[in-house]
Each structure stands twice: as structure tokens, then as C-alpha cells.
Amino acid sequence: MSVWQAEVRVWLKPSVFDPQGAAVQQALRSLGHDGVEEVRIGKSMVLTVRAETAAEAEDQVRAMCEELLCNPVMETYTFTVRPLEEASVGGRAR
């Protein structure tokens, strides 16, 4: 068994309005960043799983996304999995 680190990102589907993103975009523009066209805000989740192979780890993460982390009626997700040693910092655990 090795330990894998997964990073899951969950977004509102493109056609769904993102009020948070819109508010941030407006704020950025009023701060003078007027080249900012659109802002979308999603969630990024870092977690560790135990699995023999990368494929197995991916299956686990996919299942988590489908069951819990993402609501497919309005969200989509993407994720990456890598062996823990290689994992970069991000929001890594303490």
C-alpha cells in the first residue's frame, strides 16, 4: 500500500452563474485591474488515499467525487493523483 495525494477541484458548470466570482471580478476592476474579464471560484481539496497503484487511487478519488465532493447537477470536477513523496505543498496537511 502506498499513500497518494489527490487534489480535487470542483467548479460550478460553465453555464451556472457564479455570484462570488462576479463580485470578486468587480472588486478587482475597481482596484484598477481592469483587464480581468471573468472570475470563477471553485473549491480545491487536497487529500491522501491509500492504494496499490495510481489507477486504484484514481478510482477511489473518482468515487469520492461522485458520492460526496461534487454535485453533478451543477458542478463538475477534475482531479490529479500523485505519490505522496512527490506531492507539492499547496494546502498540504500539517
Partner: protein
């Protein structure tokens, strides 16, 4: 961002007919034929879309309209009855109360947080578009069994969604109800009510009058949200899978819209305002024109859009949230822009009022639709769907309720009923709601009705929602009556005079004769009680098709009621305030267990008939309660409802932190009925010793049976008869059971995490 030229795939009128594409849009063959006939030609794609939306159940009330005519809708207090964004009643001092309830069941079943949040946002807009300042929300909720993880996910999400929207817009959520029953496992009910205050001379209606007056769309940009599912099923639409039937609410924008609209209305230059709720621009424009008996012309390319390449069809059917349609007086447009821009809102002039009775749509100079408003709105189909009563009432064959013959069983039964999430404390719910913003909440959640101060008058508002699907299932007519009676009793127990109701009628599939029977009977029952109690229906909403896999929910009409209390000193709550008060049972004693939760818990399904109700006795009881409150004779009052007498007294003890001792005057052989009967038209009141004779006299004068049962005091709740003690439980223990029932169940993890990042 560069965008490829969008090819609009829109079938021709002939293709729509030949390939019956209208079916995907929700029209039946007969309805399509009717549209063709009324129009005198084949409707094009956009026009077919207009018909499909306005002739949907949701907009046209085609299955219910016929029956809703049974409701009494008039009375001296009614300033605005059904047919507008909200109903309004007069509370004196030049003020009206605008209120309405609406369901958001289906969206909440797939995305509980956003479904509930957008439900709250929608009902909010219905209130402030009348010119009323929203002052309170209430919510009536139904879920399955909390043992089911998905139900916990739904429950948690709905509650946080209601709070998420209501808290952010700064309007307190002051009351509501939650019931858990497996009948709602796949079809949770989420009904939200909003209440607002308006000066009588400042009421605005959703009318588009005055030829040439400009029409504005105000608020959020229009995107491809929620355009009804069926149209996307088409394989020709490349973006289908990216789309969502669920919308995300923007309470911040909702708050700005509310403030800006109220300010705009103050200018006196607003002719009419309408929320763009379900079916967006289509229903708002057609309904506003219809109310004025005129027409409207819209230039759809001027509607601000969020996405490129939107077609006229999509613009008309979009359900993007936080938008409104506003008709201003000509020459006052500048004023509107100034106010809206100060609030940071977008507004665009997109059309004008006409007098030719047509809804005419233009897109880049091309006429894309032209349909008589009358045909879309008044000529919508009207169905008298077949109804059939079941051969016997569904609870008639239930096994008899379990008798309670010893003290231990009685204590155990009370614990079990108090631990049922439908009865137990809903603090877990309402502590997530801001209940005190606007500094006007005198009585928040936890008593019979919520009570609010109004800055402009000494009078106070009393608000409640009630409805018991189990009763309606067992006996639709009486169940309907009870919903109104119980709401009014909650108001009366709080010291208020009931004024009028709004309703949300949640039912199964109306194409089933049994469901239609439930509907018709329940409506009759609501109407009976409204007439008997003098509380007309001023607004409401119907939600059909609450079924999954052929299984319908209990027929669940919910009543939202508004009452008025003359002054602060007349407010009564259910909490026992101190020791030494006399406890009096008002109303006809009754031990029948029909429809009770106790019986259902014993046999696993609703059992017996609906509880007894005598509307005349109910009216007398309420008159009595009101008279007693006015004379300041009530130190506490609580209606006897779900869970019966035992739950009522336990709740009074728990709320006040005071014990009580009740002794039934005659020996009781089987305590089940005594403790848990849900027979209606009863209340428990707490009265100072010195006032007891006056209270008994008043009861006699009102023709209401009154029975002195005992007194408050001590640390225990004791229930006894002449033969001995039936039950003696510390209030602390009762509180523990009552308060922990929902938190303990919710501590189990919910499935699917939700909420903002």
C-alpha cells in the same frame, strides 16, 4: 474572448408539428392543436416555447384553477386578493401586510442548498415588488427519515440554504415547521413564506399599463439557467451536458434589488413591477400585459446577457435569478437609472407597453414572435381532471393502538414521542437562521406563533405556518380544515386575531384520480375553515407531481397565516413563566387517537380517521383565547396538536424551565388517548390563581368547556388521575430528550458536503 458564430438550430413551424417537437417542450397533442387553432396558424419555435411555458401546470394552474375558485378570497380586511405577486391585508393605521408562500420542492431535491436559497429569493421578490418592505420569513419543510444519509444531506442543505439567503438579505426567519416521514423520502417539501409591510397608499401591482411606457429589465444578466429540461434533451444541442437545471442564488444582488426597488417605488414613477421567477421573461411580460388588458413589445437583443449567442427562445425562457421587469412612467426613465446605478445595478430598457393586445418580440430588427396575450394567458387550458375517492379511508383498517396501562409504559411512550424529530425541538434548525435582525422579533421560533413589532404602529404581527399531511392523507377534507384551524389557533394562543391565509398546496400527480380527489377535498376543507374562521385566502401556490417511482407524497397543503395583536402587553407565549399558576384545559376533552403520531408510531403507518374537528367549537375556543389575552389573563397558552396533551404540557415546561402537576378528574384505565390524542380545538392555558374564576366565567360565556387540571411548579412533570400517578419525569430529562433528538441524528455524517467555500 472570441466566440465562434453560433448557429441557431431552430426547427421550422412545420417540423415542430410533423415531428411533434412540442411534446419535448411539455405540450400535449391537444394543447398544441388548441394553440394552432387560437393562433390561426402554426406557431414558430419561439412561440411554441411561449405556449409551453405559459400553459404549463406551474404558470397556468390548469389542473387546479377550477377548484381554487372554491376559496373565499374576500373580506373587509383584504386589500389585495389572489392574482398578484402577493396578497395584502389591512392591519389598521394605514398599513397593509403583504404575504405569500411558495414551494421550491423539485430544485431542492437535487441541490438542497441552492434549491432552498433560490426559493427564498423568489418569494422575497414577490413581496417587495408589491412595494412592501419584507420583515419576516417562515419555512415549512418535509423530509424522509433522518436515518437515511441522503435525507440528512437534504435536510442540512435546505436549512443552510434558507439561512444562507435569508440571513444575507437581513430578514429574520421567525417560524416554520419541519416534519419527518418516509412519505417524503424522495420528495422533500420546501415551502417558504415572506411577509412585508406596505403603506396602503403605496401598493404597487404587476401591471403594464400606459401605452408607450418603457419596460425595463433590472438586476442580474440573463444566462441559460434553468431553461426547461426537455428542450435540452435534444442531441442537436452541443452544450447540453454543460447546463444545469439548478440556479445559484445571489443574495447580495437580491438585497440590492430589494433596496433599489423600494426606493424606486417611493418616487411614485413606477407603473408596475413583476419578479422574473419561473419562466422568466415569458411569464412576467405576458402576465403584466394581461393584467392591464394591453400588450407589450420587447426588443430581445437589448436584454443584457451573460453568455454569448443566446437565442430569443433562450432569452425568453431563461430562469436566471435576481431579475425583475419594471414598467416606468414615460419620461421618468432617467430617475430609474439614477437610483439603480447608485445601488450598483444594471438596468436596460427592453420594450414598451402597447395597446393592441399582442406580445410581440423582436430580435435584431426581426419579428420573432407575435401572439395575443389573451390567448397565452386567459385561453390557457383548463382541466377538470377525473377524481375518485378510495373505497375506504386509508387508515380505517389499521390495527388498534397499543394501550398504555402502566406508569412505566406511559413514561416510555412520552419519551418516544418527544424524541420523534417531527415533535422534538427544532432549535437545530432555527439557530442557523438569523431570527433577530431588524430588531423587531418579540417572539421568535419555539412558541405557537412568531410575533413581530412594527415601528409604525403599536400593533404587532403574529405569524405561523401549519399543515399536517398525515391528517390530509387519512381524511382530505378534514385534514384541510385542520390546517387552517391549527394555524388560527396558534395565532389565537399568541394573543392575536387571525386575519387571512396564504397556502402552498403540495400534492402528487394530478393525473391520478385518487390524487385529484385528495386535492379537491383538501381545497374544500381549507375553504370550509377559512369561511368558518373569517380568514380568506389572499395568495397561494400549487405544487403537483410530488411523486417518485409512482409513489406520491401525503397530500400536504400548508397554510401560512397572519394575525394581528393589539399591543405588546397582549402577547402570550407557550413557556410556563413561574410556579404556582393554574393550568386549565380549554375545549372538549377527547381521548380518540385518530390520526395521532402515537398510533402511527405503534403500527408503522397513519391510522384511523383524521382527528376530530368541530369548526364551530374551534371558532368559540379562539374567540375565548383572544378575549382572555385582551384582558391580560393568560400567563401562557399552548395549543394541543401533534403529540397531544402530554407533548403540549411537556413543551410548556421545557420552554419555561418550570415543572407542572396535572391530575385528570376521572380515573383513566388506558392512558394512551388521554396523553396523546390529537383531537382538535383544545388548548392548555396557565392562569394566575386570582384570575381563575374570571377565566372560567369567560369560558362559560363563550360556550367552551374548561377543566382545571393542576398547577405549575417543581422540577418534574407529573401526570396523575384519582387512582395515582401515571407519569413523573424531571423537566431536565424531558428537555434532554426533546432538545437532543435532531442534533444526535444529525451528528451522523451527512452525505454530500455542501455550502460555500
Amino acid at each position: 474572448m472570441a466566440e465562434a458564430q453560433v448557429t441557431v438550430w431552430e426547427p421550422s413551424a412545420e417540423k415542430i408539428r410533423d415531428e411533434r417537437i412540442y411534446r419535448e417542450m411539455g405540450l400535449t397533442d391537444e394543447e398544441y392543436e388548441r394553440a394552432v387553432q387560437l393562433l390561426g396558424r402554426l406557431p414558430n419555435y419561439v412561440e411554441t416555447g411561449l405556449f409551453s411555458v405559459l400553459w404549463s401546470e406551474h404558470c397556468s394552474y390548469k389542473s387546479s384553477r377550477l377548484h381554487l375558485r372554491r376559496f373565499p378570497t374576500e373580506g373587509p380586511q383584504v386589500l389585495q386578493g389572489p392574482g398578484e405577486n402577493a396578497g395584502i391585508v389591512d392591519i389598521g393605521d394605514g398599513l397593509g401586510v403583504a404575504f405569500k408562500m411558495e414551494s421550491h420542492n423539485h430544485p431542492s431535491a437535487v441541490e438542497p442548498y441552492q434549491g432552498a436559497a433560490t426559493g427564498v429569493g423568489g418569494i422575497l421578490r414577490d413581496i417587495f415588488t408589491m412595494g412592501a418592505r419584507p420583515v419576516a420569513f417562515l419555512d415549512s419543510l418535509r423530509f424522509g427519515d433522518l436515518a437515511d444519509p441522503r435525507t440528512r444531506w437534504l435536510f442540512a442543505g435546505v436549512v443552510s440554504g434558507i439561512g444562507g439567503y435569508g440571513n444575507c438579505v437581513g430578514i429574520p426567519t421567525v417560524g416554520g415547521e419541519v416534519v419527518f416521514d418516509p412519505a417524503y423520502q424522495h420528495n422533500p417539501l420546501v415551502n417558504a413564506m415572506c411577509v412585508g409591510i406596505v403603506r396602503k397608499d403605496r401598493i404597487v401591482r404587476g401591471t403594464a399599463s400606459g401605452v408607450g411606457n418603457p419596460v425595463f429589465v433590472v438586476g442580474a444578466k440573463t444566462g441559460r439557467d434553468g431553461i426547461h429540461g426537455a428542450t435540452f434533451a435534444s442531441a442537436e444541442d452541443p452544450n447540453a451536458k454543460e447546463r444545469s437545471a439548478v440556479q445559484v442564488g445571489d443574495p447580495f444582488l437580491g438585497k440590492l434589488l430589494m433596496e433599489a426597488t423600494l426606493e424606486l417605488i417611493q418616487t411614485g414613477a413606477v407603473v408596475g413591477v413583476q419578479d422574473m421567477g419561473a419562466a422568466g421573461l415569458t411569464s412576467s411580460s405576458a402576465e403584466m400585459a394581461s393584467r392591464a388588458g394591453g400588450g407589450m413589445e420587447l426588443w430581445l437583443d437589448r436584454v443584457p446577457v451573460r453568455e454569448t449567442g443566446m437565442t430569443p427562445y433562450e432569452i425568453m425562457l431563461s430562469e436566471s435569478q435576481e431579475r425583475m421587469l419594471v414598467v416606468m412612467e414615460r419620461d421618468k426613465a432617467e430617475l430609474a437609472f439614477e437610483i439603480l446605478h447608485r445601488w450598483g445595478l444594471d438596468a436596460a430598457e427592453i420594450g414598451r407597453v402597447t395597446d393592441d393586445g399582442m406580445l410581440r418580440l423582436w430580435f435584431h430588427g426581426e419579428k420573432v414572435a407575435e401572439v395575443p396575450v389573451r390567448v397565452l394567458v386567459d385561453e390557457a387550458p383548463l382541466y377538470d381532471r377525473p377524481a375518485a375517492a378510495p373505497a375506504t379511508l386509508p387508515g380505517a383498517d389499521a390495527p388498534a393502538p397499543t394501550p398504555l396501562t402502566d406508569a412505566q409504559q406511559a413514561a416510555q411512550a412520552l419519551r418516544r414521542v418527544l424524541d420523534h424529530p417531527s415533535v422534538a425541538s427544532k432549535r437545530w434548525v432555527w439557530r442557523q437562521y438569523d431570527t433577530t435582525v431588524r430588531v423587531s422579533t418579540v417572539v421568535g421560533p419555539g412558541s405557537d406563533a412568531a410575533v413581530l413589532r412594527l415601528p409604525e404602529t403599536r400593533r404587532l404581527l403574529a405569524l405561523t405556518t401549519d399543515g399536517n399531511g398525515r391528517y390530509v392523507y387519512l381524511n382530505p377534507r378534514r385534514g384541510g380544515q385542520i390546517a387552517v384551524a391549527e394555524a388560527a389557533r396558534n395565532i389565537a394562543c399568541s394573543g392575536g386575531r387571525p386575519l387571512a391565509i396564504t397556502d402552498c398546496l403540495n400534492f402528487g400527480n394530478p393525473e391520478k384520480p385518487e390524487v385529484m380527489h385528495q386535492f379537491i377535498e383538501a381545497v374544500e376543507g381549507l375553504a370550509d375553515a377559512c369561511r368558518a374562521l373569517g380568514t380568506p385566502v389572499v395568495s397561494g401556490n400549487v405544487s403537483f407531481y410530488n411523486e417518485t417511482g409512482g409513489q406520491d407524497i401525503y397530500p400536504t397543503p400548508i397554510v401560512g397565516m397572519v394575525g394581528v395583536i393589539d399591543e405588546l402587553e397582549q402577547v402570550v407565549t407557550s413557556a410556563l413563566p413561574e410556579d404556582g399558576l393554574t393550568l386549565i384545559h380549554l375545549g372538549e376533552p377527547d381521548f380518540a387517537l385518530d390520526g395521532s403520531l402515537y398510533w402511527q408510531l405503534g403500527v408503522g403507518r397513519p391510522a384511523g380517521d383524521a382527528p376530530r374537528l368541530d369548526l364551530e367549537a374551534e371558532r368559540r375556543l379562539q374567540m375565548l383565547l383572544l378575549a382572555l389575552a385582551k384582558r391580560r389573563l393568560l400567563r401562557a397558552a399552548h395549543d394541543i396538536s401533534e403529540g397531544g396533551l402530554a407533548v403540549a404540557i411537556a413543551e410548556m415546561c421545557i420552554a419555561g424551565g418550570v415543572g407542572a402537576r396535572l391530575r385528570w378528574p376521572e380515573p383513566v384505565a388506558d392512558a394512551a388517548g388521554w396523553l396523546f390524542s390529537e383531537a382538535q380545538s383544545r388548548a392548555l392555558v396557565a392562569v394566575a390563581d386570582a384570575d381563575v374564576p374570571q377565566v372560567l366565567d369567560a369560558a362559560r360565556a363563550h360556550g367552551v368547556p374548561a377543566l382545571v387540571l393542576g398547577a405549575s411548579g417543581g422540577e418534574e412533570l407529573v401526570l396523575a388521575d384519582p387512582a395515582g400517578t401515571w407519569l413523573a419525569l424531571p423537566v431536565a430529562e424531558l428537555r434532554e430528550v426533546y432538545e437532543s433528538a435532531i442534533p444526535v441524528r444529525m451528528d451522523a455524517p451527512v452525505v454530500r458536503e455542501r455550502g460555500s467555500v
